[in-house]
């Protein structure tokens, strides 16, 4: 499997580290008015431990630690390893990459 880093170009899997599902968003322990969320424990349990086991296209976070050290969002088919899109993860670098590549 190879990933086309939007900053570096196409590289082999060994240069990347897998984090996992890009979907989970850190919940807040507090409501907008500052009061404690009554279901905060459940929300955090879900955020930390519970993952969907997707068979098909999945948005994932990958880290190009063996290259430019950027976090990437990779859309990968978990059954075929086909990669449909690669882009910079939110907050990676201060400017948008010139082009995002896709490869399998």
């Amino acid at each position: 499997m190879r990933i086309a880093c939007p900053f570096c170009g196409e590289r082999e899997l060994g240069e990347f580290t897998y984090l996992g599902d890009a979907a989970p968003k850190r919940p807040s322990a507090f409501a907008a008015d500052g009061a404690e969320q009554p279901d905060a424990q459940d929300l955090f349990f879900d955020y930390v431990y519970l993952r969907d086991n997707i068979a098909g296209d999945m948005d994932e976070r990958w880290y190009h630690g063996g290259g430019c050290r950027s976090w990437l969002t990779v859309t990968r088919n978990t059954t075929t390893h086909e990669i449909k899109a690669v882009g910079a993860a939110p907050g990676a670098g201060a400017q948008k990459p010139a082009k995002a590549g896709a490869t399998s």
């Binding site: 900053f7 590289r11 290259g67 430019c68 050290r69 990676a92 201060a94």
Partner: protein, 209 residues
């Protein structure tokens, strides 16, 4: 305040052996050179200030920092892409404080960190240098895709390196520079020397010029 007197040591003091290595007959196919006496500072543009950083660099060295993997040779420094919105400034010197002059140039637009003692600089050239590198790197070094001025942040033997191509040598052979963390330098030198041994290696040391 205590006075310290640091004695600079080569990060290759265990691995480096001057002279000929591997194939002993004919011209050495690969020249491996440890480059010393350089200042290396990492520049990371602060969010939203990439254009300001580029302008300041252009004013200081006459070249723009590469926006894509590449190395730009300016007046007094080479700017090497290391990642989005960040680059190395490589220059001749071995002073104790390479950051202050850059802090004046970038004036709060970028975060700076001194890497002079943190990296080892190795130069590779020779008629068979590409054959040797092909064994250990997956980067395509063909002229068409990796011309003079090209650069890559990549891994060789599971070790992160910054690789770029300098102007060709007088004899026409390509010249590559490589920065590696000092603690991995001995190991990487061995790997490179092993890959190049069948072509004959000439190992030397020289200050950056």
């Amino acid at each position: 305040m205590a006075e310290y007197s640091w004695e600079a040591q080569s990060p290759l003091r265990k691995a480096f052996a001057p002279g000929r290595l591997g194939l002993a007959s004919g011209d050495a196919g690969v020249a491996m050179t440890e480059i010393s006496d350089f200042n290396l500072v990492q520049v990371m543009a602060r969010r939203g200030l990439v254009a300001n950083v580029a302008k300041a660099a252009k004013k200081a060295w006459g070249v723009l920092p590469p926006e894509r993997p590449g190395a730009a040779v300016g007046k007094g420094a080479t700017l090497i892409w290391t990642g989005p919105d960040q680059f190395f400034v490589l220059s001749v010197g071995n002073g104790p404080d390479p950051v202050s002059p850059l802090a004046a140039i970038f004036d709060g637009m970028a975060s700076l960190s001194d890497q002079s003692g943190g990296r080892c600089l190795i130069r590779l050239s020779g008629a068979r240098v590409r054959d040797a590198l092909a064994k250990v790197s997956s980067i395509d070094l063909h002229d068409a895709v990796f011309p003079v001025g090209a650069a890559a942040a990549t891994s060789i033997d599971h070790t992160g390196v910054n690789l770029w191509r300098r102007s060709d040598a007088a004899n026409g052979s390509p010249v590559y520079s490589l920065l590696v963390f000092t603690s991995f330098a001995d190991s990487l030198w061995h790997t490179l020397a092993d890959a190049a041994a069948e072509y004959g290696v000439e190992a030397t040391r020289t200050p950056l010029s």
